[in-house]
Symmetry: C2
Subunit: 143 residues, 2 copies
DNA sequence: TCGTTAAATTAGACAAAGTCCAGTCATTGA
DNA sequence: TCAATGACTGGACTTTGTCTAATTTAACGA
């Protein structure tokens, strides 16, 4: 995350930079994610955006999140089979996932090194490497 | 995967070793997974098991897969937000996921090294580290 | 200002994956 | 044989996400 302030004008610029027309709803959704800087599900975002008075539909939230993701503004985090989380941090980094609470925490990419990635079949391109450290509270047995 | 033969008696032993009563349905489901040695979704397993004549319900397939997972007989692979895949290989290894085709391939764990995993908060235990290399066919741009 | 147009948004129907429940069936042991 | 326990079942239900057709909005030129 390069910037620190996520007020309306800053977000407008951010969207424009990513070829996204900054509509009211899109700014609200961007604000929900970037101001919190946390990993949120579509449902949570929908709730945040309509907290005061309903102003954004479910379809728009989903459309917008997919658009943001396609344009590289946010990143999808797939750790919970039940729903996708969205991450406003697109810098390379990895995730710590608390299996009990569902909480997701970032791990600085610098801290992690992966060596020995296999040679890809010809014509294949790496889209990304996701690393998820699954943790839970309690005992010392791994299930 | 330790054994090579996955006939009925071998699977019966395998289930017993994991404290699972070997019923007909459970053996069928285990056979579907282990004989193919591939990553299958619950839906695919349901289809395989009922290929000849319907003999296992959806509920049983889901219950059984969850049971197998809890008992450490198989492993869940969470790469596709639309469904969970089940992996009969519980040896440490990682996954290559073809975003276009949905195909999942194993990467031998030996090939990969991860260093710099962060110190866990006190009382936390690592349940596992999942590494997913997302690849796709074509160009050279990453989206 | 008005009308045109294209893009964005909407409600609600729909689809798919997975869970739940209450009833039935099977197996075991006395 | 019977009771008890565990396993299985169909189907209703829930949740996440997509789709569609209709409406709204915004931009722009005349």
């Amino acid at each position: 995350m390069k910037a620190i302030s996520y007020d309306r004008p800053a977000l407008t610029v951010l969207l424009r930079d990513h070829q996204i027309a900054p509509t009211h709803q899109r700014l609200e959704i961007a604000y929900a994610l970037f101001s919190r800087g946390r990993h949120l599900s579509a449902d949570q975002i929908l709730a945040f955006v309509n907290e005061r008075h309903a102003e954004t539909s479910k379809a728009t939230v989903y459309n917008t999140l997919n658009l943001f993701r396609d344009r590289g503004l946010i990143r999808e985090v797939i750790v919970d089979p039940r729903r996708v989380f969205y991450d406003p941090n697109t810098e390379p980094h990895q995730h710590l996932y608390n299996v009990d609470t569902g909480e997701i925490t970032d791990i600085a990419a610098a801290a992690l090194t992966v060596t020995g990635l296999p040679e890809l079949p010809p014509g294949m391109v790496t889209e990304g490497v996701d690393i998820i450290v699954r943790v839970r509270a309690g005992g010392d047995r791994v299930r």
